[in-house]
Amino acid sequence: MQESVEKTKAMVQHLAAVNAILEKNEYDPGRLIPILQETQEVYKYLSRDVISYLATSLDVPVAHVYGVATFYAHFSLEPKGKHIIRICDGTACHVKKSTGIQQHIYKRLGLNDDKRTTDDLLFTLEMVSCLGACGLAPVVVIDEEVYGQVTPAMIDDILDKIIAEEKNAKGEE
């Protein structure tokens, strides 16, 4: 009982944010994409519940919202890690061996083509098409920070730093 009360409370709190987003976009179904983008920023992904809540609020079929959410690569229907690593696999990065970087991170974090998020929900690895910084190939973006002419050693340094920071933050708690 207590548990479900807590859950509902948390949900109501979250929905306040979604309602604000809907309000800002004037409940306009034509603005579905920005609505989904802003909602995903709050939750980091689009859950089933949120999708049906948005559909009801906008008075469109759930299938329509689901259709749009699955069409665009930017939307995720699964929870993502706290830190998002995006490896650019545009042509320029590809010929400069971005897949080697991918393999290195796979090994380092225990990921593979089917498993993109670490069990501790700390990292998600994505291969993305061109980030438009081809002059710096190969390029990796970690949490909005762009790293150019990346090497496996550089990746190790960055990951070490993030992991250490996370450990410290946990220790302080």
């Binding site: 983008q37 042509t91 010929v95 002059g135 390029v139």
Partner: protein
């Protein structure tokens, strides 16, 4: 800035105000603020230099509009992408025009105490020509720049967030003239006469597109700026939006007047956060100055612009899909006709132009048809920006007249082809991929082909959005074709069966070839499927998706055949086909490879030649990396 009236802007007064502000400056330092240089720490460099200046008791200013009196100050402006991303962060010091590259925050003190004080050049920071090894202290000595002809990118040295500087550089004068002195028909005719062709790939005459939209009847019309630059290996539009956002807006205003539209939408892919931000800043600044809004220049013409962000779908670069996306739907293309000029966004007549096309408009309006046509070729006038990347010494953004040869671009501007270790060798050139996933490969025998819309089509490639990826001899062309196929297969929206299923089958066939499972039927089947996809798809994505495969099949058939019949990859890139062997003559028996092999596939006595057990070998290449005598071959 408060003394400038918000409505009916007086451009001359704004320009005079800017001129007076910069006249008092002691110096100007321009730090490249494109995505590339910022990624390399450009803003940290700027902050470090500013901190050093403060220590030295010098005054620095970052935002000219923050206060009025700038006497004795050094102005640190950021520019748009200067194109030479590879040597970033780039710093230019005016008035001497000193060009520093690879600048780090640690260099700040020396820059402040030496160059900024005395104008003396720090040799460590200047660019060194990769071929002649000579230092190049100023931009006009660097081949990468001197061989270009910058029109659209010219203004990328100005501060993109300062509308006054754009106006000082003749900005918005073309829009004022178009709005107050010209009729819609006159504008269309001028662009038709200039021969401007759409920079987004197809090369359709822009003026004609406008004329059709003007002729469509409608109470409401739209202008869309297509900034959904999804081609892997292309970043021209990003750079223009980041570096010269007001030129894009001015182009949209003129397009609006020409077709009778009062609303503009800039559609930018979400992967370009900086471009989104700079476009939004520019719109806000233009609104504040009365350059966007109602009754512009007292002409009775209204124009409003908003930015819409994409959500990561390559197909949305196709105009009908892009409009569906703006309307909040799945970005699926629809059949043409009706063309957007008749029924576009929300069912209203719409003109869609590429970023670079729109940014060329103010220049044409200001300079006139003759000047514009004086460069380029008869049928493709003007200049084109290309993103030069891959195995080339100088990577970055370039702008050259149409008709420039590939040789000029690769060897003179690009500084030559590099091997995998990054050294210019002079004999490594294999191919240039142009036009991204819709384009094709150009081979060494086409080095002297003048590049324009029509010549490239004749060569089985296309300008596309202008990505030029140079590839060296260590690049496997089958892998490259597979790379593009995987891209289009991923991005196929799924509406047309031949595209959705055909690209998948083509990918399977390419995988067969790469993994040694192909037989004598594979290549023919691949070609047939490719043709079916071309014929049976609705939009440009499907129609052109087979191009990289067909073009490599045409130009590098022997490489495909080696994979299929002899089961070898000539470049050694396809690991599944690798058959590593140890050259007994070269092997010294040092055992380095034995220790590195993760599966114990290598055996042999010390100081005797070793052998690899092909059954155990997993082709990881660790032995090759470990060998100091180049004795391991076939991988």
């Amino acid at each position: 800035m408060t003394n400038i009236p918000a409505k009916t802007p007086d451009l001359e007064k704004i320009a005079a105000h800017y001129k007076q502000q910069v006249a008092d400056l002691k110096r100007r330092v321009i730090i490249c603020g494109g995505t590339g240089c910022i990624a390399n720490g450009a803003l940290k460099v700027r902050d470090a230099i500013c901190a050093e200046m403060e220590k030295a008791g010098e005054k620095a200013v970052i935002d000219l509009m923050s206060h009025e009196d700038h006497s004795g100050e050094t102005y640190f402006s950021k520019s748009g992408c200067q194109g030479f991303c590879q040597v970033g962060p780039i710093l230019r010091i005016e008035p001497e025009g000193i060009f520093y590259c690879h600048v780090k925050p640690e260099d700040a003190a020396e820059i402040v105490n030496v160059t900024l004080k005395t104008g003396e050049i720090i040799d460590r920071l200047v660019y060194v020509d990769p071929v002649s090894k000579k230092p190049r202290r100023h931009e006009d000595e660097i081949t990468f720049y001197t061989r270009q002809n910058r029109v659209v990118l010219k203004n990328c040295l100005i501060e993109p967030d300062n509308i006054e500087e754009y106006i000082y550089n003749e900005g918005y004068k073309a829009a004022r003239k178009a709005l107050t002195e010209m009729s819609a028909e006159q504008i269309c005719q001028k662009i038709i006469d200039a021969g401007l062709r759409g920079r987004g790939g197809g090369g359709f005459p822009t003026g004609l597109k406008w004329k059709f939209t003007l002729a469509s009847k409608g109470d409401k019309k739209y202008v869309i700026c297509n900034g959904d630059e999804g081609d892997p290996g292309a970043f021209m539009d990003r750079s223009v939006m980041e570096g010269n956002p007001h030129a894009v807006l001015e182009g949209m205003m003129i397009a609006g007047k020409a077709v009778g539209a009062d609303e503009g939408v800039v559609y930018v892919r979400t992967e370009y956060p900086l471009a989104v931000q700079r476009m939004r800043n520019a719109i806000k600044a233009a609104e504040e100055r009365g350059l966007l809004g109602n009754n512009l220049f007292q002409s009775g013409f209204n124009f409003h612009v908003r930015v819409v962000e994409g959500a990561g779908a390559f197909v949305c670069g196709e105009e009908t899909a892009l409009m569906a996306s703006i309307e909040g739907k799945r970005g699926m293309p629809s059949p043409k006709p009706p063309f957007p000029a008749e029924r576009g966004l929300y069912g209203k007549p719409t003109v869609i132009n590429n970023v670079e096309t729109l940014a060329s408009i103010p220049y044409i309006m200001r300079k006139g048809v003759e000047v514009y046509r004086s460069v380029g070729t008869e049928k493709s006038p003007g200049t084109k920006t290309f993103a030069l990347t891959g195995h080339v010494a100088n990577t970055g953004l370039i702008e050259v007249p149409f008709g420039t040869t590939l040789r000029e671009i690769v060897y003179n501007i690009g500084g030559g082809v590099t091997d995998n270790a990054g050294h210019v060798t002079g004999e490594d050139f294999k191919a240039v991929q142009i036009g991204g996933p819709s384009g094709g490969c150009l081979t060494p025998d086409l080095l002297d082909l003048p590049l324009d819309f029509d010549s490239l089509k004749g060569a089985g490639a296309m300008v596309g959005s202008g990505g030029l990826v140079v590839m060296n001899k260590q690049t496997c062309m089958v892998s490259i074709a597979r790379f593009f196929m995987q891209f289009t297969q991923n991005e196929s929206c799924g509406k047309c069966v031949p595209c959705r299923e055909g690209t998948k089958q083509m990918l399977f066939l390419l995988d067969d070839i790469i993994n040694g499972r192909a037989n004598e039927d594979t290549l023919e089947l691949l070609e047939q499927t490719a043709k079916a996809v071309q014929l049976g798809s609705l939009c440009g994505l499907g129609k052109t998706a087979p191009n990289p495969v067909l073009s490599t099949l045409h130009n590098f058939r022997e490489e495909y055949e080696a994979h299929v019949y002899r089961k070898i990859c000539p470049t050694g890139e396809c690991k599944a086909l690798a058959r590593p062997e140890i050259d007994a003559a070269l092997c010294k028996g040092c055992t380095a490879c034995v220790r590195k092999c993760p599966v114990g596939a290598i055996t042999g006595k010390v100081k005797e030649a070793h052998v690899i057990d092909a059954d155990k070998c997993i082709k990881c290449g660790a032995c090759k990396a470990a060998c100091r005598f180049n004795a391991i071959t076939g991988i």
